[in-house]
């Protein structure tokens, strides 16, 4: 793997963190959504990352592929939260059930904001990594005077 491949690793993280931010944005936007096409309130989603395996030819060539557990990152899945919805007593609400309770998504906006900030920070550092790799490649050209 050369520095171009290293940039690919960082790029995979940019993509994953962006997807994470999308999930958070969706959670925040739907914090009060009581009705969804699937029925029931919106369920909070969270994203699961896992280390991406290096692509096959690279794994053969590079010594890094031999050191397992190293590579970019990918989104393994986006899962709905299994937590039960919040129930609030609002008998006049159109989505109220027989007992007058409305089910709201169990979404804590503060938690989501913290998650978003984390995504932003990670995105920024990976962006710095891309810049660093790029500058190293450009530096190499100085070998040729």
């Amino acid at each position: 793997m050369n520095l171009f491949g290293v940039m690919d690793i960082s790029a995979s993280a940019l993509k994953a963190e962006r997807q994470r931010a999308e999930v958070v944005a969706s959670n925040m936007a739907n914090a009060e959504t009581t009705r969804t096409p699937e029925g029931g309130p919106y369920r909070r989603h969270h994203i699961v990352f896992s280390t991406a395996k290096p692509s096959f030819p690279q794994a053969l060539e590079s010594r890094m592929g031999a050191a397992s557990g190293i590579g970019g990152v990918e989104v393994r899945e986006v899962v709905p939260d299994s937590a039960p919805p919040l129930r609030r007593y609002e008998p006049s609400h159109p989505d109220a059930d027989a007992d007058g309770y409305v089910s709201y998504p169990a979404i804590n906006p503060v938690e989501e904001m913290v998650d978003l900030m984390g995504a932003v920070r990670s995105y920024e550092l990976n962006s710095s990594a891309v810049t660093a790799s790029k500058q190293m490649i450009q530096q190499s050209l100085e070998i040729l005077r």
Partner: protein, 114 residues
Amino acid sequence: MSFIDTPTLSLLQRYLDLTAFRQGLVASNVANVDTPGYRTRDVDFQAELQRAQEAGPQVEEVPGLVERPDGNNVSLDREGLLLAQTQLQFRVGVQLARVEFRRLLTAINEGRQG
């Protein structure tokens, strides 16, 4: 004519190879900062530089890092610092290689007037 393979040049080649490799490890660490269970990896740079290579550098887990509840122990501070460091190191290596080539060329071409 293995005058071209000066010890300096061989060392610089190894130095640049290792620095680029380490950049890959840092990038992997940074990319996986939010991956559950991911452990920070690095190489012992000085030790690897001394070793006569051929097998790839030995990648090890970094001890002494704080682990979060999801098992991930990547420190953004540490990796951010390393990012700057490898970038600078690479630059130094490239410039030194350039100087070495220039030295050889000067030795070759100065003799022209002789």
